[in-house]
Amino acid sequence: MAKLRRSRRLDVVLALLLLLPAIAAKAAEDAWDDSWGDDWDEEPGGLVWTGFLELGAGVRLDDDEPTRATLGELRGRTETEWAAERWTASLKVDALRDEALNDSAIDLRELALQFPVGSALDVKAGRQVLTWGTGDLLFLNDLFPKDFESFFAGREDEYLKAPSTAVRLTAYTDLVNVDLVWTPEFEPDIYLDGERFTFFNPAVGDIDVFDPPLSVDRPEGLHSGEVALRLFKRVRSTELALYAYHGYFKQPTALNRRGRATFAPMEAAGFSIRGPLGAGIANAEGSWYESRDDGNGDNPNVPNSQARWLLGYERELIPNLTGAVQYYGERLDDPALLRAGLPDPRFAPDKWRSLFTLRLSYRALRDNLTLGLFTFYSPSDDDYHLRPTVSYRFSDAWQISGGASLFGGSKVHTTFGQLQDNDNVYLRLRRYY
């Protein structure tokens, strides 16, 4: 029965693949048909609607559980902006048919109102994607929600950032600029819940297929809000920032009294600096996560307080080939106490974690062809994650992207080691309109 279901899914994916060009062509109005004469096309009055249709397919390489397909979707994006006086309203919404999970969804990426108050304050309120900090696919002071399921399944990079419903105030002054983001109701990461990927289950001491999917208790209501603060300033070419955060760990790494996974309260403070060094760009970032419910660090159900730090450097190696390296470290406050409280201390986290990343990206054919490789390697965890990518832009409308997410490690409970049964390859075809 399960087998039959899977093959039917593949049929649907194939049918969508064949249909897409027709659907896309119908939906898309080619804006570039106009002659390149002396008369410019005036921007059409009223709203400008843009977006894309995308078909994505991805399969698991070495296992069938929990699903053979890691990606099987038809996604339609619509976006527009409406501006009047000093107000801008923006909308970005995806409609999604997800064959891998047999699910349909509306993904509201942005629905926000942006306006200045006076001359030095900008407000953006509503659903929006938020990003700050200096890491490349590593996040210390950026405690806005990430979508790791999309990241590992090979969706477009932008989906790594999940939207928040929040109010962002940014004040610009000569002394310092201030960003204040209030998220009235806690927005966790879109964590792996077992529906698409397998990972370590401490209850069985091994990598597990979570069926039913992991269910967690999530702080809800207005008392669960988050506040994130950034003070930033540029001194000549160097960007400096200080950060503070009040909220929760973004992953469900705690257990509550009912024995259910949940998000431990935390506070964070940190800094970052970024600027030119030699022919490249160097950055450094540090952060302290204070686990509010983990007074002595001896509660095995609550994550330890921890320090995180990052050093990065990026430069062009030869024309069109850019290389970037990062060193990232984590130090848990007191894992010995944590370990003592765990049923199986073998799976307790280590006090120190180190991680190196290497990004190589090569652009050819005037940027129409992009080849990339992003590598995570942790000497302390003895695990890795490789992300080769290739993308080709046929035209302003058509774009094809492919890649793989590969994982490995000597242990079953480390960050990437636990994902070792999830190797997958994917292909996405996109039609912009």
Binding site: D122, P276, R366, D367
Partner: protein, 273 residues
């Protein structure tokens, strides 16, 4: 000399009377001609704005389009001559095609150190810093280079006046650091009256012209002769990019804070429309 210096389309002759004198009495100093051409191509007025549209054609004739607004401001700091030649700031806001709509490119051009460059990617709300190196690589998929946006410093090349015709100064330029560029040398035809570079031929080490930039139309705005149509051709691989400018204005009073991180997330609409 800024080789393909029309990107900003802010061409001028700083003082028109000086220009008239120059036209009668040909200049003979290559560095002086290049300095004048630099001002003509990049320093018209204290600031400027222009809408730009590129049509990129590959060797098989397939076309792509880019459309954007460029804002430019000269940084007037003590010690810099008011006539220009110093640091500048550029803000480039893209409106087409749809996958780059909302992308913003901010450049601070420095004459004494590497430029600072940022790219804002709206899908990720990401302010990405771009390293100084890759300036002679494709600008948003066109045959123009990043360096064409903000210009190449006159001091980066050695200049030689090889001919003075009725209409043009013809100069040959070689990079001070040859390994830093893809060309072996390039030749410019600089208009004797406007000091605008009208044609640039880039040669490889075999002496073959593999890249050509041509000014195809010049109009005057606010007293500043300005290139309004330009073509860059890839003579080796085939393909070309044509760029046109419109709604050009100079000395429009762009405030300093337009060229800041604020404009990446909230593009300054009043100056863009």
């Amino acid at each position: 000399m800024k080789p393909s210096a029309w990107f900003a389309a802010f061409a001028t002759v700083a003082v028109s009377t000086a220009s008239a004198v120059a036209a009668e009495q040909p200049l003979t100093d290559a560095d002086a001609i290049v300095a004048r051409a630099n001002l003509a191509a990049y320093y018209a007025g204290a600031d400027g704005r222009s809408e730009a549209r590129m049509v990129i054609s590959d060797s098989q004739g397939r076309q792509q389009v880019r459309q954007f607004v460029v804002l430019r401001r000269d940084v007037s700091e003590p010690g810099y001559p008011a006539a220009g030649g110093g640091d500048q700031e550029f803000l480039v806001v893209f409106s087409r095609p749809s996958d780059v709509r909302g992308t913003v490119y901010l450049v601070e051009k420095h004459v004494d150190r590497d430029d600072d460059r940022w790219l804002y990617l709206p899908g990720l709300d990401l302010v990405k810093r771009i390293s100084a190196g890759d300036k002679r690589t494709s600008f948003v998929g066109s045959h123009y280079f990043y360096e064409d946006v903000s210009g190449r410093l006159p001091a980066a090349d050695q200049h030689e006046l090889i001919e003075t015709t009725d209409a043009h100064y013809v100069l040959r330029h070689r990079a001070v650091v040859p390994d830093s560029v893809e060309f072996s040398e390039y030749t410019t035809w600089i208009d004797r009256e406007t000091f605008l570079p009208m044609r640039i031929d880039y040669r490889n080490s075999n002496g073959e012209v593999y890249r050509r930039v041509e000014a195809q139309a010049v109009e005057t705005f606010g007293g500043h002769p300005t290139v309004t149509r330009t073509l860059v051709s890839d003579l080796a691989g085939g393909g070309s990019t044509e760029m046109r400018f419109r709604n050009i204005g100079y000395d429009i009073g762009l405030p300093e804070d337009v060229f800041s991180e604020r404009s990446l997330r909230a593009p300054p609409r009043q100056w863009l429309e």
